[in-house]
Amino acid sequence: MKGSLRQSMTWLHTWSTIIAGWILFAIFLTGTLSFFRIEINHWMEPELHQSAPDENSVYVAYDYLKANAPQATSWQISLPDERERAISLSWQQPVVVSEQAQQNNRQRRGQNAERQSVVRDSGGENAQGQAGNRQSRMQNGEQQAGNANRSNRQNADNSARTERQNGQQNRQASQNAQPQNQQGEQRGGNGRMRKLIDAQTGEEITPRETAGGNFLYRFHFMFYGMDRDLAYILVGIVSMMMLVGIISGIIMHRKIFTDFFAFRPKKKLLTWIDGHAITAVLALPFHIMITFSGLLLIAGAFLPWNGEPRHRGDRNGGEAPQVQYVEKDFSQTPPFEKMFLYAEQKWGTEVTSISISEPGTDKAEYALRGNNRVTLSSGRSGSETITFDNTFIETGEPVKTEPGREAENTAQAIYNYFDMLHQARFADTVTRWLLFIAGIMGTIMVGTGSILWAVKRSKKQSGQFGFELVKGSNIGTIAGLLVACGAYFWANRLIPAQMAERDHLEISVFFGVWAVCIVAGLLWRNNKNWLVQLSITGVLFTLIPVLDSLTSPVGLIYALQTGDWLRLGFNLCCLLIATTVWAAVYYIALVKPKRTPKTDKSEPQSKTTAKSDNASKAALIARKAKEARAAQANRTQAKQEQAENSTTVSASSTATKPTSDEKLSKAALIARKAKAAREAQKAQQTTQEHLSSEQDNELNNAGGKA
């Protein structure tokens, strides 16, 4: 671009970020909230609030599983820890069949596979829209099939129906089988069951249907209702713009460390500039890390030519394993207490989960894991696992120990570090809060950047379509998103817990409220609208603890008594957000522009902004001039003192000299003083002129930043 490097970077910084500013704000805010995704989930499932961790939680879980899933091939028990209050259980529920039934089933499967291959072949022909359509219909016995697509769907239906029939036959054929647990919540078609139980009583907990914090988490990298790859590409593009914005912002910044300590409130434009600079510089390493690591994580869609496409395994796919009925013996409870003691002494931290394979048999194995991550280079598998078997009672030793894995190579290790940093998987409570605060700074940085753009241009571009669009959208996307988040939490508690598909309704409330705020922002593009939307946010977040207390099965006193800091922390965080929002409301309401004679009623903002700009500029110049005068006065005084000292020295050395010398030195002193005063006056004038021009430049640059 024409001009200096700094000017080019200013232009690039402005335009690379303003275009994606609102999406970036939404990504930053929802991503920052996702640091506390588990806490948000806990708050949004009040049915879990009653559960409190207990030393005997593992026995509670074991008793539940042996009563409800005795024939399962494996059990997974996730125990309460500092971020979980209930016990989470999952197990593989097999279809228990007799030997004869298994043989019959194998034969049927073979036949079915042949039939399916025929169906697939015909489906391929159908896709080409050729004569194979008729052939397909004949083979499938579907005489009324319509076009090729419909035929394909019917083929799929046929396959599914055949499988269902086989499944029914299997179930009918199964003899001596334990009845399947009908109460368990089956999430997958492969027999995987999941259940939450109270950590003290072992009672089943069925939390309300909610998207919870997972919705906010998913929204920040794949939006909602959008194709995953398309969303990744969009997020990748705006993240790239963000990275360019950050780097160009660093280059264009003239005094990066000086400005870090400067915050000039009530100065309109300068306040926004300072707020933007401080939040950007304070958490600069975090901003670079989070943007770059985010890009790395979604790079698959952005760089489709790089590497083999990996498909996520279908977690719900497959069939439940078929096993023969085995007589199990649960008469002896494994010595979990001793196992835990062994592991916790070795790791110095609590056991958080245990996997039991072949439970109730002689081959049973107990694999213990904890928060004992020893390395980050391998991503999530950096923890040691200790496995015991039934011989532990006699030997007192584990049967095997698997150390935490290391990355296979340096590139993979660096990638994993970024992955772990971005998702804060390693973080304890304090680190998580620090990351959260840094994320909030990033959100403020993006928000103030967008506002700064509008404030700077309010004088010159007021009334223009682009300017008004940005100004209005700022209100709806920044304040509106906060309102939407508050409304989402309220919807979670106010929509009846038993309502079908209530999670979709919660999300609809979120988007509905946000849309209303955006429209309102575009219609009323003034400070009053900021005040209204921020006030609504303030009310929503301030009253969240009250709402929580009224709509949870147990009150906040119970949470205090049982140390439910997940819930209390969420409420405190909401109060913190409310305080910040109320401070913003107070600021907007307090710093009212002075009334000016209205010549054009449609543009009161631009006039007041211009006046405020001029006032702040004049105040700054006056302050700097005053400082320069003080500095000059100090220098003059120092010179005088020096002169007086020299005079005193000469006077003392010539104390015996006649009075005429004294008169002479006094006259010289007066002459020097007069000269110094003239020089000071001249310097002051020069400094004032220089400062005026420098300030103009600064303001121009600051304007250029926006």
Binding site: M9, V244, S248, L296, N306, G307, E408, N409, Q412
Partner: protein
């Protein structure tokens, strides 16, 4: 001379630089990351994550460079030349 004045028009200038930055930068970064992965002798998953990291660093630098050079003619020439050279090198090393 006519070309210079045409390129200097603000709308044309910004459009050309944006296209150069987005497309030229993407192509340049892709070639550079492939080439570096090839020189480093990486393959499989290691090569994949290495390319990801180099690509995004290179893309950021290229975009900034595209907007920092004053002369439009210079940046167009340099971008095209670098792209040709790097992709030739990639083809010669058999990475593409």
């Amino acid at each position: 001379m006519k070309l210079e004045s045409f390129l200097a028009k603000p709308a044309i200038n910004v459009s050309i630089r944006t296209i150069l930055a987005i497309l030229g930068g993407y192509s340049l970064s892709a070639a550079l990351s492939l080439l570096l992965a090839s020189f480093a002798g990486l393959d499989g998953r290691e090569s994949e994550v290495f390319i990801r990291m180099i690509f995004f660093i290179s893309y950021t630098v290229t975009i900034i460079w595209t907007f920092s050079v004053n002369s439009e003619r210079k940046i167009i020439t340099q971008m095209c030349l670098l792209n040709v050279l790097l992709w030739l090198a990639v083809l010669l090393t058999g990475e593409a």
